[in-house]
Symmetry: C2
Subunit: 137 residues, 2 copies
């Protein structure tokens, strides 16, 4: 609950979300942090969707500004940073899981680990907890 005083088009929560990650790239960066364990600049560049380097820099920057991502110097390599999700970013997990489930159910081409929907249908909260614990280690 922070007072981020950029001027939004409205005070609707859906609009807040849209203004935070409603574009063609931001959610993919969040996905990479959340589900693919990516942490370094080059990791994100290497994703299937081929984000270009200027866009990546811009989105990481905006996510940091919005408190979704943190950027810390890599203790093992002074010349690079480790990007990771803040608590605010991690809190997007349930939404990301629901979005994933929707896509898997409505797009025949989508590829996702086989057991995702099994777990989702059997015990959604358990699935979310499982991913959550992965994020915290």
């Amino acid at each position: 609950m922070t007072d981020n005083s950029k001027d939004l088009r409205s005070n609707c929560p859906i609009n807040f979300a849209v203004e935070t990650f409603g574009d063609k790239w931001t959610l993919l960066v969040i996905r990479d942090l959340m589900f693919k364990g990516k942490r370094y600049y080059g990791d994100f560049l290497a994703s299937d969707e081929k984000i270009s380097t200027n866009i990546l820099a811009d989105r990481l920057q905006k996510l940091e500004t919005n408190g979704v991502v943190s950027k810390l110097p890599d203790p093992e390599n002074g010349s690079k940073y480790i990007y990771s999700l803040t608590e605010k970013g991690k809190a997007l997990l349930p939404a990301m899981v629901e979005v994933t489930a929707w896509s898997v159910q409505h797009d025949s081409l989508t590829n996702t680990p086989d057991d995702f929907m099994r777990f989702y249908n059997a015990d959604k909260n358990g699935l979310i907890e499982m991913f959550k614990s992965k994020l915290d280690n």
Copy 2:
């Protein structure tokens, strides 16, 4: 589960979602259908965010193409249409609820009915079922 053969940047489910509603306006139209009971063209035009008429037409069209929204002649007024969510559209409800909850928890300015978070915290599935039943009447 339909084979929509537009060429996606990848077969990732998050990317599928991004390509379906990852822009500044689409999710607001879905919100209006899902939570605000809007059905007519003019209803959408009247939202707080002031969508312009060409963009609205474009988004309704794309949503229809993607099977999220249906467009049917209004039986009580031949010169207009009724827009509504398809089953695929309604299936976005859990995701929309999670996104809303995230925004409410992370944006102090967001305004939402007081009891939303109470219900969400007490019985999330019940909250979703409640909205679902509203959509089906």
